[in-house]
């Protein structure tokens, strides 16, 4: 890592650490939510940006972890940390099953297959009333006592988010991550070069699902509530939109996308009930003016300037 980059990361972390001091109360909890969804968006970016497979099932993987944490802690009265562990395991298991089915396809077929798989999870959560609470979902505070304070929760999420971001960054920039990029660019060539494309896709998908699971488990701490809408298609789409608006294939774009979308949702809705219209217009303009996303556009501009 160049010193310049290191400086940037330290500055960003320092800035983020100031949030609870500068924006106490509600806006801290908003920032907490942004951090959680940033992780989800980044996990989606591993597939959408680096592997060239756009998934529509990560909301479901994310939500499975949330469900498991809430069920384990509120219904079975277990410890929250064991709950998080089980939640992440369950989400990873779901990701493994999805991966086995989905890696055979690419392009629009991959999109549709993952959409269908996600809908199955949604259907199960809606119908399996005795466990999931059906439409009404599961409720209950699962946060350990020392995280009850919103500022503490924020710092916890910041630390967790930073660790996961680092892990994901290492993953996509590792030699293995390069093979994923290779698959994105030319699957046939990778195969002729002797790479087991299916296996690489499978691992990429599972790792992506693992990170989505971690963010879902942490979401249970934040939200204290889960219902089928958490595993629904809208959730998957929102995560994907965050990745796209921030810039696919940039990883850190997820952070910007999450901050933009959640921020806009809340700021705009205070002024008009037509907030979804404003959000839609923003997506359209992003696609027209900066199809490579906010971060993608920025790095393109700086590259141009340097040249």
């Amino acid at each position: 890592m160049s010193p310049r980059r290191l400086l940037g990361v330290v500055a960003a972390l320092g800035g983020l650490a100031l949030v609870p001091v500068v924006f106490p109360g509600y806006r801290t909890s908003l920032a907490t939510e942004m951090l959680i969804f940033a992780t989800l968006a980044m996990s989606i970016d591993i597939l959408a940006g680096y592997t060239g497979r756009t998934p529509l099932c990560h909301g479901a993987i994310f939500g499975v972890a949330t469900y498991v944490v809430l069920y384990y802690v509120t219904v079975m009265q277990g410890s929250p940390w064991v709950g998080v562990l089980l939640g992440v395991l369950a989400a990873t298991a779901v990701a493994i099953v999805f991966a086995l089915l989905a890696i055979r396809t690419s392009g629009v077929y991959f999109l549709l297959l993952t959409l269908a798989l996600g809908m199955i999870v949604w259907g199960v959560c809606l119908r399996w009333t005795s466990v999931t609470g059906g439409e009404n979902g599961l409720r209950g505070s699962v946060r350990p006592q020392w995280l009850a304070d919103p500022a503490n929760l924020y710092y916890f999420m910041l630390a967790a988010g930073a660790i996961m971001t680092l892990a994901m960054w290492r993953f996509v920039n590792s030699p293995f991550g390069l093979t994923l990029k290779g698959i994105r660019e030319n699957e046939t060539r990778m195969r002729t070069l002797g790479y087991d494309v299916s296996l690489h896709l499978f691992i990429g998908f599972t790792v992506s699902g693992f990170f989505a699971g971690v963010s879902g488990a942490l979401y249970a701490f934040f939200n204290s509530f889960v219902s089928p809408s958490t595993v629904g298609l809208a959730q998957s789409v929102e995560g994907l939109l965050m990745a796209i608006v921030g810039g696919v294939g940039t990883l850190f774009g997820g952070l910007i996308g999450a901050a933009l979308i959640i921020g806009l949702e809340n700021v705009v809705s205070a002024y008009t009930e037509r907030w979804s219209l404003v959000l839609g217009l923003m997506f359209i303009f992003t696609m027209i003016l900066a199809p490579e996303g906010v971060l993608g556009k920025l790095s393109q501009l700086t590259l141009k300037r340097r040249r």
Binding site: P24, Y26, S29, N136, G137, S141, S224, S227, S229, N266
Partner: protein, 419 residues
């Protein structure tokens, strides 16, 4: 929220940050009373949500936006028919807009999500529309009160009593939307109907947004029951009633409806096919009581439509709040006193037409009307009273302690007595 109040809110937030965040709403004593109103203005039930806001503001506009000597400021937030959004907006109303209390939400899951949130911080939350039984039963929360609302299984019980005892129906089929609200309403009906000597020969559960009811209607015809109890809401109710008539079953098999099935939100777009459906509810827009008459006329003048469940519930809820605020002389910051005042109110002059008070579980005790859909002189359809069941609580005639021992109604548990 405009910019000025945003800055003000930010300022108070900054000031209050010296103390624990959840105590800060107790600091500002003067200034307006801020009511956080949550309603689904987008999403699947947006039309109902819109009417909630209209009716709530209708009351405050008429009363000069004042109560207990203080101004009333209503802050509306869209819950998008989504529990996660509802939760986020509730947080925003309490933590950023410093709302003194919350009211609203339409779908049970949005209300349950917000209830869980206020359980943690003690903000009073009022639910005139959310009917989920357990919010005032097995998992009640002291600061969540169902002013001018009802619990799902409460309303169909008088109808079951009426059907078995007065109409001498014995053999029933129920058809209901397949989710908690439907399970609970059907449970209330089925349990009492079987306890009184009736039998429920079949229960059909249709998924939400069913387009085609013909499979159910064919089975109902085959079963040839004395009467059918239908629990449908919104567009499903619309389609069910239309297809019921198209199948030629109207007039052949008596159709009983849950209150939502013949609510104005449904029948205002229907024609003669809805005539004659019998349902039970705590409000009857065609009742002749002067307060009801005046409310319905004013409402129709203001909005060119008859008030629905969303309209009259939110209006009565606002009235209830106004009386409680007057009772504590505007000091809503003292939450315990304010909630106590809310619980003590006996609402006498509301559009419901009859006095209402809360039971000790925070759910109203109503005089419930058995009502029938009739054509009004101008061709519109409305519900007119047939009979009144006085003082119906959410526990009917059961002992509360005894009743709460049975599980909550679900698709698998309907409380029906066999044989």
């Amino acid at each position: 929220m405009d910019r000025r109040s945003f800055i003000k809110a930010a300022g108070t937030t900054a000031l209050a940050s010296t103390g624990p965040w959840y105590l800060k709403s107790g600091l500002a004593q003067s200034g307006p009373i801020r009511i956080g109103l949550l309603a689904p203005l987008t999403g699947v039930v947006a039309s109902g949500g819109r009417e909630m806001v209209e009716a709530f503001n209708f009351f405050w506009d008429a009363s000069g936006k004042k109560a207990g000597g203080r101004d009333i400021q209503v802050i509306v937030e869209d819950d998008a028919s989504n529990p996660d959004t509802a939760l986020q907006k509730a947080r925003r109303l309490v933590e950023q807009s410093n709302a003194h209390f919350l009211i609203g939400d339409l779908l049970a899951n949005t209300g349950l999500a917000v209830a869980e949130y206020v359980k943690g911080n003690g903000t009073p939350y009022f639910i005139p529309i959310i009917a989920a039984d357990d919010l005032t039963q097995r998992s009640r929360i002291p600061n969540v009160v169902r002013i001018a609302g009802y619990s799902a299984s409460q309303m169909p019980r008088p109808l079951a009593d009426y059907a078995v005892k007065k109409k001498k129906y014995r053999k029933f089929v129920t058809v209901s939307q397949d989710y908690a609200f439907g399970h609970e309403q059907c449970g209330g009906f089925a349990q009492l109907a079987t306890e009184l000597g009736g039998t429920v020969v079949a229960q059909h559960w249709n998924p939400l947004s069913t387009q085609d009811f013909s499979p159910y209607l064919a089975q109902i015809q085959g079963a040839a029951p004395d009467a059918v109890f239908a629990m449908e809401t919104g567009a499903d109710a619309n389609r069910f009633i239309q297809q019921w008539a198209n199948f030629g079953m109207k007039g052949k098999i008596p159709l009983l409806g849950a209150m939502n099935a013949t609510d104005q939100s449904v029948i205002r777009t229907l024609g003669a096919e809805c005539e004659g459906i019998v349902s039970s509810a705590h409000f009857c827009e065609g009742d002749d009581t002067p307060v009801t008459r005046k409310f319905v006329n004013d409402y129709e003048k203001a909005f060119q439509k008859l008030p629905s469940l969303y309209g009259f519930s939110m209006y009565s809820g606002a009235m209830w709040l106004a009386e409680a605020i007057n009772a504590v002389k505007g000091k809503v910051e003292d939450r315990a006193k304010f909630l106590d005042a809310v619980r003590r109110i006996e609402l006498r002059n509301s559009p419901l037409g009859r006095p209402v008070r809360l039971d000790s579980y925070g759910n109203p005790i109503y005089d419930v009307y058995i009502r029938e859909v009739k054509r009004r002189a101008d061709g519109k359809f409305w519900n007119v009273p047939v009979e009144v069941y006085p003082k119906v609580s959410q526990f009917w005639t059961y002992q509360p302690e005894q009743y709460l021992k049975q599980p909550a109604y679900s698709r698998t548990y309907q409380g029906t007595k066999k044989g």
